[in-house]
Symmetry: C2
Subunit: 394 residues, 2 copies
């Protein structure tokens, strides 16, 4: 990357800005706001996942009602269906799906590695087969940018490799270096295309559990001056303490004046523990996916509402929740719907789970404001059951 | 039935009352209102079907927004899942599903004959096997009443036999006579139980295409003084002109001061043609079922939005529709969702189709008020394509 390009980087970085409000004196967690072309969201924030240009079972009105401030959508999926050209023709993803608040799109990298078959990684990009049709496809850093330009998301992600856990040091070192070179190509493509300069591009720090590699990745990427940075390659099968340890040595390497995003993490404990380690943004399919299996997050821990014991339980999913679902419907009704595979049941559990996590983030922000996030963590973990020995991993 | 029981009948018939507003001078169609324990609905009216205590993909708020004034739910399905005892314990169906407007429940008769296996009809009732579990079950007129008492619907239906089309005269005559005896047992059970006297019980006139049998059925049932009457056994495979002819000789046999309900009919042409023949109420799964297959009702006829030709069509489903879906989403987006089997897509097409039929009924009511329902029929049929030779039968 030459100096001229670097100059362009700085110019457009302003599309996404981070406003720091305060740091929790007890925990070190950050309270802030991220400004984007489609408005501002508060941090720490959880982003519901709308893979196919819809957060499964939810309407945009549902999302607004629960105070979702930013959603994530998946480049890989939209590229394949309906095709980014159709979304561009519709006027971009916001207009296509009727969501006028911020959208973050991933780069497709994670899905290429997790969903596709027969992939082959080269310096140029990744050859792979469509996970449904078997069609041969090729995704490169440049192509990932072009697709995201067509989608018109507020925050784009650089195309990276996300190796599974555990990956050995020498493989991971090669991968990190390639990811850095790809990040540079993403930035070049973004600036040279002249398209959608308002979109902000985040870099992704990889390196698995290896501190040395995380340092190298962070150094490479921060030298490129992205307007925000993500920690990638976590929540891929490693134990929770590994995730926390990696965050402890990685977030201090990330610029304090830019948003920090922990990719693919959405269990209540990890959201709190991530915020404590300086993370501002999270996303995960967990709350929506388990909802469609009849599992709910509640202030007293998880509740598998499809279980027979709820057949005559006329209490709300969560007796301490003030969401529309908990104010209106009983466990017995929701269980009945889910047993009958009625989509309205999935809609109710999805709404509740997203509301629960968004409310949790609100509580986390308030606890940061009050300098008591460690106390809040203790109380929350106790009530949810995370302190129990047999605590489930979400 | 003895005189004492007849007296009771008249007493409780007041739970459901029909208020006649006017008759269309051009067509003979009736404009009115039906008053029930959970409020009033205008007639002619279409009732969305909520088989499993949910109108598939819709929330009660969605239904209110589209001005649904009464919904139908299925006794057979709710008896089997979750069980009427659970719904009674919840405080009744209205409370269970959070719908505070009128509900009509069918008797289970139609489902026993259309869904179950190995059924055996006796004078006492029908032995059959659960359509999912294979469990042996027995449904009688008394049991059908007991279940509907537990559900607490505003309008209950008598347990009847609904023979398929065509059925020969002698079989149909036996069936009609049995249905009359069953209707009497329903009324007796309803009054002797002392439960839910506010619920109104409708009788069902059967007799297939045979005028003599319809006359006999109507005579038997009107002698029992139900607060409303249905025409059953239509829309079971007979040609449309047979349905219209049967209605022409049947509705004049029905009391003018009580609501008249044509069961299982929901195609736009049949709604108009039924109203012209003096029908006040209709129900059908058609609009919701075809919606989940990606087919929409529009002012220009049916539109199969899943078809490839809509991939880049950014117009609304119906350019003349002012529903939320048509004001907000494109054919291209809805097609994308449906191709991806995203439930939000089914929610959008379902909402639109129900809105379309409810709006059609509003237009029918206005046309009756203006004494121009035959003119309206002509215009609507022309625009929808029902006048074409190859018009599809929905």
């Amino acid at each position: 990357m030459n100096r001229k390009e670097m100059g362009k980087t700085k110019l457009t970085a302003a599309a996404i800005t981070y406003e720091h409000i305060k740091t929790c004196k007890q925990s070190g967690a950050r309270l802030g706001r991220v400004h984007t072309p489609h408005g501002t969201f508060e941090t720490p924030m959880f982003m519901p996942v709308g893979t196919m240009a819809t957060v499964k079972t939810m309407s945009p009105e549902d999302l607004e009602k629960m105070d979702a401030q930013i959603i994530l959508s998946n480049t890989y999926h939209l590229w394949l269906r309906p095709g980014e050209d159709i979304i561009e023709e519709a006027g971009g993803l916001h207009k296509f799906m009727n969501w006028n608040k911020p959208i973050l799109t991933d780069s497709g990298g994670f899905q290429v590695f997790s969903l596709s078959d027969l992939r082959k990684i080269t310096e140029e990009g990744v050859h792979f087969r469509h996970h449904l049709s078997g069609e041969k496809l090729f995704l490169t850093p440049e192509k990932a940018m072009q697709i995201q330009h067509s989608l018109g998301s507020d925050i784009m992600m650089a195309f990276d490799e996300c190796p599974p856990y555990p990956a050995d040091f020498s493989y991971m070192k090669d991968s990190v270096e390639r990811t850095s070179r790809w990040a540079e190509r993403c930035l070049t493509e973004h600036h040279q295309s002249g398209k959608n300069a308002k979109q902000g591009l985040f870099g992704i720090i990889q390196g698995g559990e290896h501190e040395e590699l995380r340092k190298q990745s962070a150094k490479d990427l921060t030298s490129l001056d992205f307007p925000g940075y993500a920690v990638g390659g976590l929540s891929v099968g490693e134990p929770k303490d590994v995730m926390n340890r990696v965050l402890e040595f990685t977030t201090p390497l990330m610029p304090a004046d830019k948003p920090r995003y922990l990719m693919g993490v959405g269990s209540p404990d990890s959201l709190i523990d991530g915020a404590i380690r300086g993370i501002d943004m999270f996303d995960c399919v967990l709350p929506t996916r388990i909802a469609r299996n009849g599992t709910c997050m509640t202030s007293a821990g998880r509740l598998v509402v499809r279980n027979a014991k709820y057949a005559r339980d006329f209490r709300p999913l969560d007796e301490n929740c003030d969401c529309h679902v908990c104010r209106t419907y009983s466990r017995a009704y929701i269980r009945h719907l889910i047993k009958c595979e009625e989509t309205f049941g999935f809609r109710l559990t999805t709404y509740h789970n997203l509301y629960f996590l968004l409310t949790l983030m609100k509580q986390v922000r308030q606890a940061i404001m009050d300098d008591r996030l460690l106390d809040f963590r203790e109380q929350f973990f106790e009530a949810y059951g995370f302190n129990k020995e047999n605590a489930k991993n979400f």
